[in-house]
């Protein structure tokens, strides 16, 4: 069990790293796109444009939120001494 946990931790660190939101964004965007494809309401080009625009905008939003929250944290507590 201990080794399984360590392996899981390793996989998480290796793959997800220090920003789980990126992974969540990709999975959510592709999940929504999968539903759109299954309904057959959109053509291939529309799906391609929706997915690529959605992922890139969500990626940018994540970064902006991260940088702003880091700033707010620093403004309140001062720079950390890591």
């Amino acid at each position: 069990m201990k080794y399984l946990k360590s392996f899981g931790r390793f996989l998480y660190d290796f793959y997800i790293g220090d920003d789980w939101k990126t992974a969540a964004t990709v999975v959510a965007a592709l999940g929504i796109a999968a539903v759109l494809v299954a309904t057959g309401a959109f053509g291939d080009t529309a799906i391609a444009l929706i997915v690529s625009a959605g992922i890139s905008l969500a990626f940018a939003a994540n970064l902006i939120v991260d940088v702003r929250s880091r700033h707010t944290e620093r403004a309140q507590h001062g720079p950390s001494q890591r």
Partner: protein, 269 residues
């Protein structure tokens, strides 16, 4: 696969491998210099054998068990998460919001840790040197293997992807043997930024194609302009990243505190 995709494949794998091999080289160099080359090289050699076995096993399993569109979706998703992490880190570093990796500093830290550790011997090897060398090469190499497998399988050209990685490894090895010091002048962030852009581009392309598995018949989705869409995607990711590199430092400085130090993260690999 068209020539655009082929060049993208080789460039991405080569650049990614160069970055990872430089980092692995720093570890082996520090350990070998301080603790002896026999154990350091044995650890590195075992890691390379383990990585080769891992590549063959995972590559075979994926090709054998998954239909084409499922493979595109799975690999596209995995590669997209991986590529966006690289791109995110490179953007933060380029914007001055995260410290750049310094191979000289990494070498000093590794050397200091090697000096302080015990000299336990197992199977005729300096165990610390063997394990640290193995772990360093295996972990850095795992990222290379991941990119070789995902790119190679989706582009249907694993040998070309592997050749790109091997070429990078040989170049780092020769440069390292000549320099006999950490390869600090390799522009790691620029390489990482380029790889992040390429991985995100190809991964977006493949993930969208793979979504076809959810429609009747399971046939891959088609991009307008086919392979040429890769160039449009690359341009899109590039423009977005440049915009973020300009915008993020301003956002970090604005707000109740008035100003913040330029570096808000700690150095990461």
């Amino acid at each position: 696969m068209g020539s655009t995709a082929t060049w993208g494949l080789v460039t991405a794998v080569f650049a990614a491998s160069l970055v990872e091999f430089v980092e692995a080289f720093t570890i082996v160099l520090a350990i070998g210099t301080l603790r002896g080359w026999k154990s350091a090289l044995a650890g590195a050699a075992l890691a390379i054998v383990a990585l080769a076995g891992f590549t063959v096993a995972v590559g075979y399993a994926l090709v054998t068990w998954l239909p084409e569109s499922a493979l595109q979706l799975l690999i596209g998703t995995l590669l997209l998460i991986f590529g966006l992490q690289w791109l995110r880190k490179a953007i933060l570093r380029s914007a001055g919001l995260e410290a750049l990796r310094d191979e000289d500093e990494a070498f000093r830290e590794q050397s200091e840790a090697a000096r302080r550790s015990s000299g336990e011997t197992r199977f005729g090897f300096d165990w610390y040197a063997f394990v640290i060398s193995f772990r360093g090469v295996f972990l850095e190499g795992l990222e290379v293997v991941f990119i070789v497998i995902t790119f190679g399988l989706n582009a249907d050209n694993v040998p070309l992807a592997a050749a790109g990685a091997v070429a990078a490894g040989v170049i780092v090895l020769i440069a390292g043997l000549v320099a006999r010091e950490p390869l600090a002048r390799v522009p790691e962030n620029t390489l990482k930024y380029s790889v992040g852009l390429l991985l995100s581009t190809f991964a977006t392309f493949w993930a969208v194609e793979g979504l076809g598995i959810f429609r009747e018949g399971g046939e891959s989705l088609a991009w307008p302009g086919e392979d040429l869409a890769l160039l449009a995607l690359l341009a899109g990711w590039f423009l977005l990243s440049r915009l973020l590199i300009r915008l993020l430092p301003r956002l970090a400085r604005r707000g109740p505190g008035g100003s913040v130090p330029s570096i808000v993260g700690e150095e990461t690999s």
